[in-house]
C-alpha cells in the first residue's frame, strides 16, 4: 500500500514561506510604479497566475501522453487534476487582469489586444475538457479521448503563444523577454519570487487533490472488500476519473 500524501507537508511549508516572502517583497521592497502607482502591484499576482495556468495546461498534456503510452489510469487522473487546477488559476488570472486593465487602460476588456484574446481562447478550449469527459460514458474510452484532447490542446498553447508574439502589438506589456525585459532589478526579483510562489501553490494544490482522490478510491475499495458490494453506492456518471 502506498502513502499518497508523502512530501505534502514539506511542499505546503515551502509554499507558505515563499508566498509570505513574495508578499513582503511586493509590499515592502518593490518600488511603486512611477506611472501607474499602487495598482501596478497586481502585476505580481496576475502575471504569475497566467503563466502558471498556461504551464499547467501544458503539464496536463504531457501527463496525458503518459496515459496514452502506458494505458495506466493513474496518468489520466494526474492529467485531469493538472488541467482542472490550471483552469482555476486561469480564471484567477483573467479576473485580476481585468481589474488591472480597468485601472490602467480604463476598460475591463480590450478585444484588440492579442494577449488577452488568445488567453481567453486557450481558457475556453480547456473549459470544454470537462463537458467532453462528461459526455463519454465508458470510463476507459473517456480517459483515452480526454488524453487525446489534452495532448492536442497542450500543443495549441505554445502555438497560440508564438502567434501572439508574432502579432506584435504593444498594448500588453512584455515581461519575459530574452533580453531581460524592461523591469528594474528589484521588480524583477519580486516578480520571480511571486512566480515561484504561485508555481509552488499550483504544485501543492495538485498534490493535495491527487492525495484526496487516491484516498477516496482507497477507502471505497476497502469498504467494498470488508463490508461487501452493497456498502458502497455505485458511482454515477462523472467527468472525473475514478
Amino acid at each position: 500500500m502506498t502513502t499518497f500524501g508523502r512530501g505534502l507537508r514539506t511542499l505546503v511549508l515551502a509554499t507558505v514561506l515563499t508566498i509570505i516572502v513574495a508578499l513582503a517583497l511586493v509590499f515592502l521592497y518593490a518600488p511603486l510604479d512611477a506611472d501607474q502607482g499602487f495598482i501596478q502591484k497586481i502585476f505580481y499576482l496576475h502575471v504569475p497566475l497566467a503563466i502558471v495556468s498556461l504551464c499547467g495546461f501544458v503539464f496536463g498534456g504531457l501527463l496525458a501522453i503518459g496515459h496514452l503510452r502506458t494505458r495506466n489510469r493513474a496518468w489520466d487522473m494526474r492529467s485531469y487534476v493538472a488541467i482542472h487546477m490550471a483552469l482555476i488559476f486561469g480564471v484567477g488570472g483573467l479576473i485580476t487582469g481585468s481589474i488591472w486593465a480597468k485601472a490602467s487602460w480604463g476598460h475591463w476588456w480590450d478585444w484588440s489586444d492579442p494577449t488577452l484574446t488568445s488567453f481567453l481562447i486557450v481558457l475556453l478550449l480547456f473549459a470544454t475538457y470537462q463537458p467532453l469527459r462528461f459526455s463519454i460514458e465508458d470510463p476507459e474510452r473517456q480517459a483515452r479521448y480526454a488524453s487525446v484532447f489534452a495532448v492536442v490542446s497542450a500543443a495549441f498553447v505554445p502555438l497560440n503563444f508564438i502567434a501572439v508574439r508574432l502579432a506584435q502589438q504593444f498594448v500588453h506589456p512584455r515581461i519575459l523577454t530574452l533580453g531581460g525585459g524592461n523591469l528594474p532589478g528589484s521588480m524583477r526579483l519580486t516578480f520571480l519570487v511571486s512566480l515561484l510562489g504561485m508555481a509552488l501553490l499550483y504544485a501543492t494544490l495538485w498534490k493535495y487533490e491527487m492525495t484526496a482522490k487516491n484516498a477516496r478510491i482507497q477507502v471505497r475499495r476497502l469498504r467494498r472488500s470488508l463490508l461487501g458490494d452493497d456498502s458502497v453506492r455505485p458511482l454515477g456518471r462523472s467527468a472525473a476519473p475514478s
Partner: protein, 112 residues
C-alpha cells in the same frame, strides 16, 4: 490551347494571387485537419452535436484570425496589397503542427 485556359491560369502569374492561393490552401488544410479530428472525438460522445463545435471553434479561431489578417490587404479599398508573409507563415505553422499531432494521436481515437 493555352489561350483558352488563360482566364483560369492567368491570374496566378501575379504574385499577390499566388500568395492568396497559398493562404487559401493553408486555411483549407487546417479546417480539414481540425474538422476531422474534432469529428473523430465527438462521434463517440453523447452530445456530439454540441461537443464538436465547442471544441472545434477555439482550435480554429487562431487560424481564422490569421486568414482574415492575410486576406485583409487584398480587400482594402485604398492601397490594397499582397497578403503579408507573416500571417501566411503562421497559417503554415498551424497546418504543419496540427497535421502532425492529429496524425500521431488518431490511432488512439479509432482503436475500438
Amino acid at each position: 490551347m493555352p489561350e483558352a485556359l488563360d482566364w483560369l491560369v492567368g491570374p496566378f502569374t501575379l504574385p499577390f494571387m499566388q500568395r492568396a492561393l497559398l493562404g487559401a490552401l493553408g486555411v483549407g488544410l487546417i479546417c480539414a485537419v481540425i474538422g476531422t479530428f474534432v469529428s473523430a472525438i465527438a462521434i463517440q460522445t453523447r452530445a456530439r452535436d454540441l461537443i464538436a463545435p465547442i471544441i472545434g471553434l477555439p482550435l480554429l479561431i487562431p487560424a481564422l484570425i490569421a486568414t482574415a489578417r492575410a486576406a485583409g490587404p487584398l480587400l482594402a479599398a485604398h492601397g490594397s496589397g499582397s497578403p503579408p508573409t507573416k500571417w501566411i507563415a503562421i497559417l503554415a505553422l498551424y497546418d504543419v503542427v496540427f497535421a502532425l499531432i492529429a496524425y500521431a494521436v488518431f490511432d488512439y481515437l479509432l482503436e475500438d
